[in-house]
């Protein structure tokens, strides 16, 4: 556009301010999207001008949906959703709150039975452009027009300038001519666009050409008294005189896709800037308040804030409310603002009602400034794209939603089955319980999954509800998981969520949100028990990741971090426990032990795993030297912890015994040392109950416990000696403990132990060599019984002849027997 054109346009806009009536020109109402002041001004201007039709900036595809806005079950905030038919992931939203000028204009037109149309470039074109498929054709040009105007007025904050000059002024009370503010604003914008042209957004020219064409069509149809509600930035372009041919030329040949449109419920939170599809406003709650408040908005706001704080048990008196209002007023005067705005109100609430603290203030910010308001959409609105995406996937994966229950076995090594599993897991994340995982029949390999499918009609409702999270199953599940991760309060909650997210195959960015939430909760959780409880689930998830080929580097890093924290915190947490607590702690030690083995194994397996580098830092060898742990990374650190547990007297007996046993099993503890520890624990000085607990920890629970005693007679002897040395008074006290320990053994083991004990101490005392023990239960060999074994052995080994076998055993006696 030439300079002359823009000047002429600016002059025209300027001249428009003088003319009182809309004689032939359309009524151009330039607004800030979601500005409450703009909304009031629009309402006043519409009431004053009584246009014959109303055009609103928005996708023309949604024209047919406009009457729904008058439906009594329609409650803003809602959003117009336009998505490509083939790919629901490509979608654009036009959010509207009760205080949005567009919404106000639509409602006004519907109430007054005035035709209302959308007038933007069809979204079909916007969605067809491959780069930026999700960005709405938004209203913030690369040059921030309001920012430039604000800077010209000496404001550093554009939002504040707009509030002071436009929103607050019109909120004060209707000016004499409701159209005056729009004229002034149009003039300012005209001047701006003379300088900045299209503001660095060439697409705007196309959009504005489309708007002009729609405007022309509307004027042809409804006459001249047409009102237009659009972003203030576009007003000069709409007022410009261009030829139809030029506009049509601009629109020629731009690609388009088939689209579908619907209304979806929206929330204030999603209107806020910091969440996806944000509408660019930080404080929807505040704006809603400004729009709703009949008068004295500041006083009403403070009263609301006080009410909220009182509900949350912060004492706020009426005097505080008065003082807060006064302070906000003084602050506004000091800052040279016409009316106290949100910044002043917030400062005043903090200083007066929250005693200077940001903690209760955060509540006000969250509940009031942003707000919880949830929109509603009538059932007659078209189906949400999520349902379409689900239907499409059901077709591709040949998973028909049928009403009867049906079992499904999935082999995750197959591509289709893996995709089915992912879909079902994602739906579960979304709360759509179509499939429930069940215990698999037959094979229990990690690559198998069993589901029970059951589609119920109410699941359609569930899908519709889940539509608020996104337009495809994947994006919705990701968004839901992210929001749950952020909202989760307990570590166990996040861990469970992570366990559900991994099989769902969520994209990396969603997973990383969950992972960082997990890391944060783990870091802040002071109870090492929670950490220890969370670790096994994580280790399991890691194993799942291996099966499904998901990237688990982040998870591994979190799990290793968690394991380190457990290593630091566990020893102090194992002291001074009551018997129940000690049992609980022993269970955790077991869980952590196997989890750490899994972790260390996983890390040793993948060379390229970044956590390998992270956990045992290069400095490990040197820095760990003062500690008592061998320098073997996590596993070594854990062994150090176990050793600490095993040797510390204040640790509960059952935990001490368990730690000794785990060390012994892993070969970190020589048998002599284990025997020494056992001797210490079972020495006459130790309280019998504690010693019995130690025995339970050492040989109880796990199946191998009994065999250990069977095979190591020295340990058995220690137990035996201790048992016989217990004074009769204490014997009844420890009996239940012992019974609990030994009754879990296999009958065979129990009988063998009994026989061993009946044999009594063997000649040679307690310190017989291991060599003598391995051959059998007696000192010598019972030749007759050994002979009896030979035929069976032959049969088993498939040996028909008298051939010497070396496989029967390592003992020379047996070989002799076989050859005889």
């Amino acid at each position: 556009m030439t300079a002359r054109e823009t000047t002429a346009r600016a002059r025209r806009v300027g001249a428009g301010t003088d003319r009182p009536a809309a004689s032939g020109d359309p009524l151009l109402l330039g607004v800030r999207h979601h500005g409450p002041g703009s909304a009031r001004a629009v309402l006043a201007a519409l009431d004053h001008a009584r246009p014959s039709a109303v055009l609103v900036e928005g996708p023309p595809e949604a024209d047919t949906l406009l009457p729904l806005a008058a439906d009594e079950r329609m409650r803003p905030p809602v959003a117009l959703l336009v998505h490509a038919v083939d790919d629901p992931g490509r979608a654009a939203f036009w959010p509207m709150a009760a205080f949005s000028p567009e919404w106000v204009a639509i409602r006004w037109a519907l109430e007054h039975r005035v035709p209302v149309r959308f007038m933007d470039l069809p979204a079909a074109h916007g969605l067809a452009v491959p780069e930026q498929p999700e960005a709405r054709p938004d209203d913030a040009p690369a040059v921030d027009p309001i920012g430039v105007l604000a800077a010209a007025a000496g404001y550093d904050d554009a939002e504040r300038w707009w509030e002071d000059v436009v929103e607050h002024r019109t909120a004060d009370g209707a000016p004499a001519d409701p159209r005056a503010p729009f004229a002034a604003l149009a003039e300012a914008m005209g001047a701006l666009r003379e300088v900045h042209g299209d503001g660095g957004r060439p697409r705007d020219a196309v959009r504005e050409a489309a708007m002009r064409l729609r405007l022309r069509a509307a004027r042809k149809e409804f006459g001249d008294g047409v009102a237009v509600v659009c972003g203030a930035w576009h007003v000069p372009a709409l007022a410009a005189r261009t030829t139809i041919a030029a506009d049509k030329a601009l629109l020629k040949g731009i690609p388009k896709v088939r689209t579908e449109t619907t209304w979806v419920p929206w929330t204030h939170r999603r209107l806020a800037r910091h969440s996806g599809y944000g509408a660019g406003i930080e404080s929807p709650g505040w704006y809603g308040h400004l729009f709703d408040a009949r008068d004295r908005p500041l006083e009403r706001w403070m009263t609301k804030a006080a009410g909220l704080l009182r509900e949350e048990d912060h004492f706020v008196s009426s005097a505080d409310v008065i003082e807060a209002v006064r302070l906000a007023g003084t602050l506004a005067a000091m800052r040279g603002r016409p009316v106290a705005g949100l910044a002043e109100a917030t400062d005043a609430v903090r200083a007066v009602m929250c005693e200077g603290s940001d903690v209760p203030l955060a509540l006000v910010q969250d509940r009031l400034v942003v707000g919880e308001t949830l929109g509603e959409v009538p059932d007659s609105a078209p189906a949400v794209p999520l349902q379409r995406d689900l239907t499409r996937q059901q077709r591709t994966l040949r998973l028909r939603p049928v009403a009867e229950r049906r079992d499904l076995e999935l082999d995750l090594r197959k591509e289709t089955d893996a995709a089915r599993s992912r879909l079902l897991h994602r739906l579960r994340l979304l709360g759509v319980g179509w499939g429930e995982p069940v215990e698999g029949r037959g094979s229990t390999g990690t690559f198998r999954e069993s589901w029970r499918l059951h589609w119920r009609p109410e699941l359609f409702v569930r899908v519709a509800e889940a539509g608020v999270w996104g337009t495809t199953v994947l994006t919705a599940a990701s968004a839901r998981a992210e929001s749950e991760a952020v909202a989760a309060t307990t570590l166990a909650g996040v861990t469970a969520l992570a366990e559900r997210c991994l099989p769902a195959g969520l994209p990396a960015d969603a997973l990383s949100v969950v992972m960082s939430a997990l890391a944060d909760r783990a870091a802040l959780d002071a109870d090492v028990g929670h950490l220890a409880d969370a670790l096994p689930a994580l280790a399991r998830s890691l194993r799942y990741g291996d099966v499904r080929g998901t990237d688990t580097a982040a998870l591994a890093a979190v799990a290793v971090g968690l394991a380190e924290r457990v290593c630091v915190g566990l020893p102090p947490a194992c002291t001074g426990l009551d018997p129940d607590g000690a049992q609980e702690q022993r269970r955790r030690v077991d869980g952590v032990h196997s989890a750490i083995a899994l972790l260390a194994g996983a890390r040793a397996g993948g060379e390229a795993d970044p956590t390998d580098r992270d956990a045992p830092a290069p400095a490990d060898g040197a820095t760990d030297a003062p500690a008592d742990a061998p320098t073997d990374g996590l596993r070594g650190r854990w062994a150090g912890v176990l050793r600490k547990l095993a040797s510390r007297d204040t640790v509960a007996g059952v935990v001490r015994g368990r730690a000794t046993r785990l060390l012994l099993d892993d070969g970190h503890l020589p048998e002599e040392e284990a025997a020494r520890l056992m001797g210490l624990a079972l020495s006459p000085g130790a309280p019998p109950a504690d010693a019995a607990a130690w025995i339970e920890g050492f040989v109880g629970g796990a199946a191998g416990g009994g065999m250990l005693l069977v095979h190591d007679e020295r340990l058995l002897r220690l137990v035996d000696d201790w048992l016989t040395g217990i004074p009769p008074a204490s014997f009844t006290a420890v009996l239940p403990l012992l019974r609990r320990t030994f009754s879990t053994y296999d009958p065979g083991v129990r009988r063998t132990l009994g026989e061993l004990v009946r044999c009594g101490p063997q000649p040679g005392g307690a310190h017989r060599t291991a060599d003598a023990l391995t051959a059998g239960f007696g000192p010598g060999l019972d030749e007759r019984r050994a002979d009896a074994v030979v035929p069976v052995l032959r049969l088993l080994l498939g040996l028909g002849t008298e051939e010497r076998t070396t496989t029967t055993g390592s003992t020379p006696e047996k070989e002799r027997t076989a050859s005889r």
């Binding site: 006064r326 400062d347 005043a348 200083a351 200077g356 003062p626």
Partner: protein, 386 residues
């Protein structure tokens, strides 16, 4: 400016007690002049340039007071030095509060320039920062209300002449700004003597059947430490009479390192410690450790941490570094090394032997161990914490 707060507090207190009756000390002879004397030029220039409306008995408009604290350049070219470096919002709220009839409570951990801000506010608003009550466990009610000159009382009976007004009482009578330092150290019953003053704006003297009514312009600035243990919590009745402004710790690591190093240098000079070269690295490290544990998140924002029970204020970082310097110069080779500060850091972090030790160990293992160039520090910490 935060660094010398404690020293200043002490000297201000002494000076005000002495100068209260004897008038202002001669210009230049005082060890540390009051704010209104030290910055008299700026205050005069501001008063001349300030054409905005002033509340009753204020020397400057609220805008002028804020400019005096935050610094700026006047139309005539006078440069106003910033007295407080921090969020503008806080100063604006503080000044606005003084302009209403609520009192101002400045909260913060030690070393956040509470006293400094309160002194300068009083100097800018009333031109006098000496109407000061220093709160201690032994502050009597007379320090807040009034006392008696017993010689006169016995000789002439109760009369206005025998009454010794407290700084608060004088501020009420003259419409000035009174200051109460360390409000939470004052015993609860004495604290509550302020309630009538702040809500009714009057101080009854039942012995005389009279009262002193506050003149317009009177207000009160109190400072309190919100993290220390063993303080006398404000009663909610009193708390409601205050608007609260929480002064934050330094916002950036650079600012804090700067404060610590400057203050350490000053203390080092007064303790005759030889200057140590290359101490900056350790100071930076101590500040980093303190900030990370205090804020519960590492500097890179990646890892969350548990926070120990101690305050880990800037003031403590200063004492840790000073202690390390003493170690280095008397028992080491004169260079501040990780080993010199490790014990001090441990002592500052581990206040509660059970819970804090876990916090500290986790921090060591999860953060310090894996940080580049921190190997020496890690080893030194392992040695002292073992």
């Amino acid at each position: 400016m935060t660094v010398s707060e404690s020293v200043r507090t002490a000297s201000t207190t002494t000076a005000s007690t002495i100068s209260a009756g004897a008038g202002d000390p001669a210009e230049g002879s005082a060890l540390r002049p009051h704010a209104e004397h030290a910055f008299a030029d700026e205050l005069t220039a501001l008063a001349a340039a300030d054409d905005r409306p002033r509340p009753a008995r204020w020397r400057l408009s609220p805008w002028g007071v804020a400019t005096y604290l935050l610094g700026g350049v006047l139309p005539d070219g006078t440069v106003i030095t910033p007295k407080y470096v921090g969020p503008r919002r806080l100063v604006e709220v503080a000044v606005s509060t003084l302009a209403t009839d609520r009192a101002l409570l400045l909260l913060g951990v030690p070393g956040t320039a509470k006293t400094w801000v309160s002194e300068h506010l009083a100097a800018a608003v009333s031109g006098d920062s000496t109407l000061l009550v220093q709160g201690t466990a032994g502050t009597p009610e007379e320090a807040v209300r009034y006392g008696w000159d017993y010689a006169r009382l016995l000789a002439h009976g109760p009369s206005r002449d025998a009454l010794v007004p407290s700084p608060v009482m004088r501020a009420m009578a003259d419409g000035m700004t009174a200051r109460v330092e360390e409000l939470t150290r004052i015993p609860a019953d004495v604290q509550d003597a302020l309630i009538t003053i702040l809500s009714e704006k009057t101080l009854p003297v039942p012995e005389l059947g009279q009262e002193v009514q506050a003149v317009r312009g009177f207000n009160l600035i109190a400072t309190a430490n919100d993290r220390d243990r063993g303080v006398n919590e404000l009663s909610s009745a009193l708390r409601r009479r205050f608007n609260t402004v929480v002064l934050p710790l330094p916002a950036t690591p650079e600012a804090e390192v700067d404060i610590v190093s400057r203050r350490v240098e000053q203390i080092g000079r007064s303790l005759d410690l030889p200057p140590t070269p290359d101490g900056m690295a350790e100071i930076r490290r101590v500040v980093t450790v303190f900030r990370e544990l205090r804020e519960g998140v590492t500097t890179d924002g990646r890892t969350k941490l548990k926070s120990p029970s101690g305050t880990l204020s800037t003031a403590e970082a200063i004492s840790v570094v000073t202690g390390g310097l003493a170690l280095a110069s008397h028992f080491g080779d004169g260079v501040l090394r990780p080993g010199d500060v490790a014990a001090g850091v441990l002592g500052a972090v581990v206040r509660d032997p059970a819970a804090d030790r876990v916090v500290w160990q986790e921090y060591l293992e999860a953060v310090v161990r894996e940080r580049d160039g921190w190997k020496d520090f890690y080893r030194a910490c392992r040695e002292v914490s073992a």
